[in-house]
């Protein structure tokens, strides 16, 4: 994602935390990240570094989980493209570009 936004100024990612139930620690980590709205913390989490406990009360994570269930999204990451198409699974920068440009 980072690579793509560096290359393509017309693309922006809005990242919403939606922990999977099979990852027991992901829920608390999601809350910490949402509280601080911190890309740095998200990157730390990807790199498996420990994260502090959440510093706020937020319902956003629960709402995201509910929303993904409603949308039928069962895996992560899931991309919702500008025209509403949903694409799940990891994609590299080129694959994401193709999706956005509908090629």
């Amino acid at each position: 994602m980072k690579k793509l936004v560096a290359e393509r100024k017309d693309v922006v990612f809005y990242i919403k935390m939606s922990p999977l139930k099979m990852h027991p620690g992901a829920y608390e980590k999601s809350k910490t990240i949402v509280c601080e709205k911190s890309m740095k913390l998200l990157e730390d989490a990807y790199e498996k570094k420990p994260l502090p406990s959440p510093k706020c009360k937020t319902s956003a994570v629960d709402e995201n989980v509910k929303l993904t269930e409603k949308l039928g999204i069962t895996s992560a990451p899931a991309l919702v493209l500008p025209d509403g198409r949903v694409s799940t699974g990891y994609r590299d920068a080129n694959a994401m570009k193709a999706l956005i440009d509908k090629k």
Binding site: I15, M17, K29, A60, G72, G84, I100
Partner: protein
């Protein structure tokens, strides 16, 4: 007049013959001769899935296959039926030339969501927040 009639019939027969005997000629559009109506597709598919609802029948992305959009168990997916209506194909159709899963593309096209209904207040923003192409990512931190 009679002559035109005869030619039309002859062409129809030829097209049907070539399709059913497996000698399709290059660039012939067999969808001109073959038809598949919505209720017909519904009847064919119902045998295997009593809950199926046919949404749309269209000429498929490949020759000799109809693409039928169905709704079953709350999900919209495409299935395929061949021109002679003898076989149903349900699974991923992959274009070798384009290196692309055509079925997956159809699935995401059929199951589009309303992006305006997704709240973004809690989202982390990566890139220029006013950029033209806004992609919403649901991600797990682990």
């Amino acid at each position: 007049m009679k002559r035109i009639y005869f030619t039309v019939i002859l062409l129809t027969v030829l097209c049907l013959l070539s399709a059913s005997y497996g000698f399709p000629q290059k660039d012939r559009n067999c969808f001109k001769c073959h038809t598949l109506k919505k209720d017909e597709a519904q009847a064919l598919l119902k045998t295997f899935d009593p809950d199926v609802k046919v949404l749309n029948v269209k000429t498929g992305p490949v020759k000799y296959l109809w693409e039928i959009d169905i709704e079953t168990k709350g999900r919209k997916i495409p299935v395929y039926i061949d021109l002679p209506k003898k076989n149903i194909f349900s699974g991923s159709l992959i274009s070798i030339q384009r290196k692309k899963n055509l079925t997956r593309d159809s699935v995401s096209e059929l199951n589009k969501v309303d992006v305006s209904k997704i709240p973004l207040k809690d989202a982390l923003v990566l890139g220029d927040k006013n950029a033209k192409n806004r992609v919403i990512v649901f991600d797990d931190p682990e």
